[in-house]
């Protein structure tokens, strides 16, 4: 509860901060302060201090999984704002910075609803609270046609998927014996698997698949990610996607665990398609930004493996995956924003001019590729292990690792450009604090890659309480 209220209130504070000051640094620091407060508030919630004893009528359920997910997401946002907050000011001269930050906080409010929902209504609310600010942020580069196009596209497609989701929820409501939205009522052993129920479930699956850009519902992703200002692409591709994934897992774990055998094959096919399309298309991209858009689809495919298996390892893994993927992607995007040329050639010879930038970027990319010693390895490991543990769908595991091998190709293209090709990579001005923070993020990724239990120990106690 702490997180939901603090983020909503801080969103409003951010909005008004623009009235009192026009200085970017003040606004930015307010945002950082808000994020720190969020993290602290959420942590206090986790250890049992609730500031706002609101009776939520079981519409929200604050378990450790959701609160830990919040921690991962707020932490990533903090790093995101510290690394790239300054670049929000550079998007467009007339876009008020304070409002961008306000929208970011509203998104976080939505995310904290999605990570702790206990009825389908709350899930719907959360998803909408996430989506609407995102439509605005996507179009925040007002004078840029591509940004406008992306925004409109995102809006139309998003509305469509929301419609599907509502329909699905309505059908499930009809199928529930007592007429309820609560996932306790829809949960294991409560409902018979009627056609109505299955139809609602599938619609919900499709709608959620749309939100996390699973193939074949991914067509909006490359255009929106490419068109949106790069800062917000970074935000959308990591924090938002991870948040929605947590909700996705939560929904299917708590509600539809019973009918797993019915939808599992469907999810397996979606996973395989997502992995295939994401990875293969990323290979052919010429722009690093677009490549990262497709790579985010490919990574979503890996996260879908957790949805397929739904067991202790999967729940552990999705948090680790969310953390590893968000950290690395935010890092790569932060570097990308500083580049003058977004194509692969634009990275040529970066290692000569900015060895530190190239070295940290390499670590982020290695982590995304899932090379051992980086957090990305254990993230992928957990996903694969969770499916192996179920004992089925081994073909999908082998397919997934082959796709991971493909992903090496496009991630390494950037590394090759930076290190082994001659060129004159142009960057914007780099501040020492920015470089220092990149090193911290890279160190964090390696630390999690060698000792994942720093995050997992917390989780492990969690599995047993489940």
């Amino acid at each position: 509860m702490n997180a939901i209220i603090i983020s909503a209130v801080w969103g409003i504070i951010m909005m008004f901060s623009g009235v009192f000051t026009s200085k970017g640094s003040v606004v930015r620091n307010t945002a950082v302060l808000g994020l720190v407060l969020l993290l602290v508030g959420n942590y206090l919630d986790l250890i049992g201090y609730h500031f706002f004893p609101v009776d939520v009528h079981k519409m929200l359920f604050f378990d450790e999984f959701g609160l830990l997910a919040n921690t991962v997401i707020f932490g990533s946002t903090l790093i995101f704002v510290l690394l790239s907050g300054r670049d929000i000011e550079n998007i467009a001269p007339r876009m008020p910075v304070a409002e961008c930050f306000a929208l970011v906080f509203f998104v976080l409010c939505g995310v904290s609803l999605v990570t702790t929902f206990n009825t389908l209504l709350m899930l719907f609310l959360g998803i909408e609270i996430i989506s609407i600010p995102l439509y605005i942020l996507t179009g925040s580069d007002k004078r840029n046609l591509k940004s406008n196009e992306a925004s409109l596209k995102y809006f139309l497609m998003g509305c469509f998927s929301t419609g599907l989701m509502l329909l699905g929820i309505a059908l499930l409501y009809g199928a529930s014996p007592t007429g309820s939205f609560s996932i306790d009522e829809l949960g294991i052993g409560r409902v018979n698997l009627s056609a109505l129920y299955m139809a609602g479930l599938l619609l919900l699956l499709v709608a959620m698949g749309f939100k996390v850009s699973a193939a074949p519902f991914h067509f909006w992703t490359p255009d929106v990610y490419d068109g949106a200002p790069t800062v917000f692409t970074s935000f959308m591709a990591t924090i938002v996607k991870a948040g929605i994934f947590i909700g996705f897992i939560r929904l299917f774990n708590e509600t539809f665990g019973d009918s797993q055998s019915k939808w599992q094959l469907f999810v397996a096919i979606i996973t395989a398609t997502t992995l295939f399309i994401g990875n293969i298309t990323a290979v052919f991209q010429q722009s690093v930004k677009r490549m990262l858009a497709y790579s985010s689809i490919a990574q979503a495919g890996f996260m879908l493996l957790a949805l397929l298996s739904i067991n202790g390892l999967a729940r552990d893994g999705i948090l680790l995956y969310a953390a590893a993927y968000s950290l690395a992607t935010i890092g790569v995007f932060a570097i990308l924003i500083k580049m003058k040329d977004y194509t692969f050639e634009g990275f040529n010879g970066l290692a000569k001019h900015h060895p530190l930038l190239a070295a940290t970027c390499t670590i982020f990319l290695l982590s995304l590729a899932g090379i051992p010693l980086t957090a990305g390895f254990f993230a992928k490991y957990y996903m694969l292990a969770s499916v192996v543990e179920t004992g089925h769908y081994l073909w999908l595991v082998i397919f997934a690792v082959l796709c991971a091998a493909v992903s090496v190709y496009y991630y390494f293209r950037v590394i090759q450009a930076m290190y082994f090709k001659d060129g004159d990579a142009q960057t914007m001005e780099l501040r020492p604090a920015f470089k220092g923070l990149l090193v911290v993020v890279a160190a964090l990724i390696i630390l999690l890659g060698v000792f994942p239990q720093l995050l997992l120990d917390k989780l492990n106690t969690l599995i047993y309480t489940w």
Partner: protein
């Protein structure tokens, strides 16, 4: 204690090496570090097989059931010794090679040494996988940064090949882990699995692992990355790749595949052997056609490795002992060959056999040393490889697990003849005959090169005449592996 030191010395030394921004000090530093590793490895040999110093075990990932477990058994001893000898030899032999930003080069070399030693020492599957990759990444950067003209494509191919292999192996490791009763990655738990996994599962698991190892060795038809990579890499890295890194594949089969999945190994042993044979003959035939010295040696290496893999599947004591000693010998011999190639290339500026000739007149010391190394490469009696290959062949011949032992032996022996043809042909064209305009100016080798080549020759002759200490060292491991590989006792 000793295994931890063996990994830590090159690891820390390598990481520190990045910060020595001076060519000369970086070179000396890396030599010092590699000598320290050699000293520790010799210390490991001297403490005796039962010493508690040879094992180390610490908590690593309790949630996953993985421990930082490292240990030195007979096979580990001999491979660690090979790695520990190889690096100082490589550093001394390539002392005069120039690299831009050489401190990075030497640091990455040391990191790859840490990875290699880790692979040979790991007693925990996840740790093994970690080091397996750790050995690969520095080599990728070494080849792509300091290699030849087509280095980027060649090393990328190499990286993708091995990465696909290791990911398949990872799936196998996870599957086995999920089926251990105590949810552990330890070698012991994996060995205990061999009787509880049924035949069908063993079969496809066998291929998951075997593909990974076959890519690394490499075995036909998964070898295509190898000649390109060897040719394009800086010679020092090629020495690491061919002298030590290919042994990771052979080692992997012996430690992590055959004893864990004896039924799968038995069921597909003949097919795998068929690939090994094809590999030997094919590589030998291709080697005969090569004009580039590096490619010739690369293909000859495929042929030699094929024989070792063949002997593993024969499942006999003699054969397995042969593999052990031959892994060491092959590493030493091929590094010797590369040193000579490096010398020729540095002096003449070419590796083309057709452009060279009559070098023996100008560089007699080099010629003598090379002839000995080359004769070892074709397994002439009194050289180390003779002992190894003799054991390998008699092992394959006396194999009880296959009906085709005679066929295998005869066809494999063909590759020995072919190897003599291309090696002697190469010596004749490069060192004898008339000098031409290019080789007229050749000078004899310098002291550092003489020393390392002489040391290699000494090793070749000593092991060739008196191989007993090496065989004693690995006896226990071989017996243990063979008991575990006995599919009838399951």
């Amino acid at each position: 204690m000793i295994p931890v030191l063996l990994i830590a010395i090159p690891l820390v030394g390598g990481l520190a090496g990045f910060f020595i921004k001076n060519d000369k000090s970086a070179r000396s530093w890396s030599l010092l570090v590699s000598l320290a590793a050699l000293a520790v490895s010799l210390w490991g040999l001297s403490v005796g097989a039962k010493s508690p110093l040879l094992n180390a075990d610490a908590e690593w990932l309790p949630a996953l059931g993985s421990r930082f477990a490292v240990g030195l058994d007979g096979m580990g001893q001999i491979l660690c010794l090979l790695t520990a000898i190889a690096f100082p030899v490589i550093f001394i032999a390539t002392w005069r090679d120039e690299y831009s930003k050489s401190w990075n080069f030497y640091a990455l070399m040391l990191l790859s040494q840490a990875g290699l030693l880790g692979v040979f020492l790991a007693m925990d599957a996840l740790l093994f996988y970690f080091f397996w990759e750790l050995a690969l990444i520095p080599v990728y950067f070494l080849c792509s940064q300091w290699g030849g003209e087509k280095r980027i494509q060649a090393t990328f191919k190499f990286f993708i090949y091995t990465f696909v292999g290791s990911l398949l192996m990872l799936v196998g490791i996870i599957w086995l882990y999920a089926h251990t009763p105590d949810h552990s990655f330890s070698l012991k738990s994996f060995y205990a699995l061999r009787s509880s996994i049924n035949g069908t599962d063993q079969v496809w698991l066998f291929w998951l692992f075997f593909i990974a190892f076959a890519i690394k060795m490499p075995i036909w038809p998964l070898h295509t990355w190898q000649p390109d990579t060897y040719e394009q890499s800086p010679t020092a890295t090629t020495m690491v790749l061919s002298g030590v890194m290919v042994k990771m594949g052979v080692f992997g089969v012996i430690r992590w595949l055959a004893p864990v999945l004896p039924l799968g190994t038995w069921a597909w042993g003949d097919t795998a052997s068929g690939f090994c044979i094809a590999s030997m003959i094919y590589a030998s035939l291709v080697a005969m056609q090569q004009d580039d010295l590096k490619r010739l040696i690369a293909y000859s290496s495929i042929a030699h490795i094929g024989l070792m893999a063949l002997a593993i599947f024969a499942t006999t004591t003699t054969g397995m002992q042969g593999v052990m000693i031959q892994m060491f010998n092959h590493g030493i011999n091929i590094i010797g060959m590369w040193i000579v190639v490096d010398l020729i290339e540095r002096q003449m500026g070419t590796r083309k056999i057709s452009e060279l000739g009559g070098l023996a007149q100008k560089a007699p010391a080099l010629a003598i040393l090379l002839v000995i190394v080359a004769l070892a490469n074709v397994a002439l009696p009194l050289t180390n490889a003779f002992v190894g290959e003799f054991l390998l062949f008699s092992g394959v011949y006396s194999s009880k697990v296959t009906e085709y032992n005679v066929v295998f032996t005869v066809v494999a022996a063909l590759s020995i003849i072919l190897s003599a043809i291309y090696t002697l042909n190469m010596i004749q064209k490069v060192f004898f005959g008339n000098t031409n305009a290019l080789t007229e100016k050749a000078k004899d080798i310098k002291l550092n090169e003489k020393v390392v080549l002489a040391a290699i020759v000494v090793l070749i002759v000593v092991i060739g005449v008196y191989p007993k200490p090496v065989l004693n060292l690995t006896k226990e491991t071989v017996d243990m592996i063979l008991t575990k590989m006995d599919y009838k006792k399951i």
